[in-house]
């Protein structure tokens, strides 16, 4: 093996400082989430804030750690719009969940 030289790939836009910044950013956002849990924020506000922060964290991981920001845009267009669409479709069931407690016979 190693008769041929190693392939060198370099992406000038991303380096170690970027990775550390993203990592610190993720830790800070996680800290904010834990703080929200400590403050016992009302459920609906808590859920909105947590999902919002998680989507931001997820986007940071996908863009920088998973390198999608530096891939062709066509890759993003192939993978993500349908994923987001399918996830949003699952929201349809949640209306039904709110109906169940009202339908339960009193015990």
């Amino acid at each position: 093996m190693s008769a041929h030289a190693e392939e060198i790939h370099e992406h000038p836009a991303v380096g170690i400082p970027t990775f550390i910044k993203v990592w610190v950013g993720l830790l800070v956002l996680t800290g904010v989430e834990v703080l929200l849990a400590y403050l016992q924020v009302p459920t609906l506000i808590m859920l909105t804030a947590l999902v919002g922060l998680s989507v931001i964290k997820g986007a940071m991981i996908i863009a920088y750690f998973m390198h999608l920001k530096f891939e062709r845009f066509s890759l993003f267009l192939t993978l993500f719009p349908m994923l987001i669409f399918c996830i949003l479709l699952m929201l349809i069931f949640l209306g039904d969940a709110t109906r169940i407690p009202v339908m339960r016979p009193p015990s």
Binding site: I8, F19, T30, L50, L79, L94, T98
Partner: protein, 208 residues
């Protein structure tokens, strides 16, 4: 179409890959998207169960349970950083450094699994929560909690084995940078899933 025509065809006519990426990486992306849908469905099932049960328990005390799971989150986030460093070293052609970073990633992943198992055993043995029953009278809590965290932990364990295979190959001079990058994609995905499991399953059920 002749091979010459293939070479000159535009990307969308079947010439070069329209994504300018190798097929291993594209394959891993497709797997990640389908696995993301699996986890989304589980998290929606959890949310559905929770909304339909107003008496849903809040079993996680801020200290120690939430602090404990925050440390687990820290271990997993840090493992993503070390994995990125491994891919970076491999892209520069430094196999020794890449191998060491992969080992660091595996250690952080194993720490996560160890902490998680400790937490599970505490819930099962001390608080008597199982997938089928718990002291709070909402069996769905155990069912959804163990399904979601269990499937995630399975992914982490598979990831550690996957990285182990990649790691020994890197040290022996086999495999290319792209193979490490594809393993990295899988590992970051496992981290990504935890970024949704941790707030929805743990933080939403925290009590101070």
């Amino acid at each position: 179409m002749s091979s010459q025509a293939t070479a000159t065809a535009t990307a969308w006519e079947g010439g070069r890959s329209p994504y300018a990426t190798n097929s291993k990486k594209f394959g891993m992306w497709l797997f990640i998207i389908s696995d993301a849908l699996t986890f989304s469905a589980l998290l929606f099932a959890y949310t559905y169960s929770r909304v339909s049960n107003p008496e849903w328990p809040k079993p996680f005390e801020f200290t120690p349970a939430i602090i404990f799971s925050s440390v687990m989150t820290f271990a997993l986030l840090s493992s993503s950083l070390t994995m990125v460093m491994a891919v970076h070293s491999m892209n520069k052609g430094d196999r020794a450094a890449a191998g060491k970073w992969i080992i660091a990633t595996m250690i952080a992943g194993a720490t996560f699994v160890g902490l998680h198992m400790t937490e599970w055993l505490k819930l099962i043995n001390e608080e008597h929560v199982t997938p089928f029953q718990n002291p709070w009278g909402v069996p769905l809590f155990g069912a959804t909690f163990f399904s979601i965290t269990g499937l995630h932990m399975t992914h982490v364990v598979i990831g550690i084995i996957y990285l182990g295979i990649i790691c020994q190959a890197v040290f022996r001079g086999k495999f290319k940078a792209e193979d490490v990058e594809v393993a990295g994609l899988y590992w970051h995905f496992v981290d990504l899933v935890w970024m949704f499991v941790f707030p929805l399953v743990y933080l939403m059920s925290a009590r101070v």
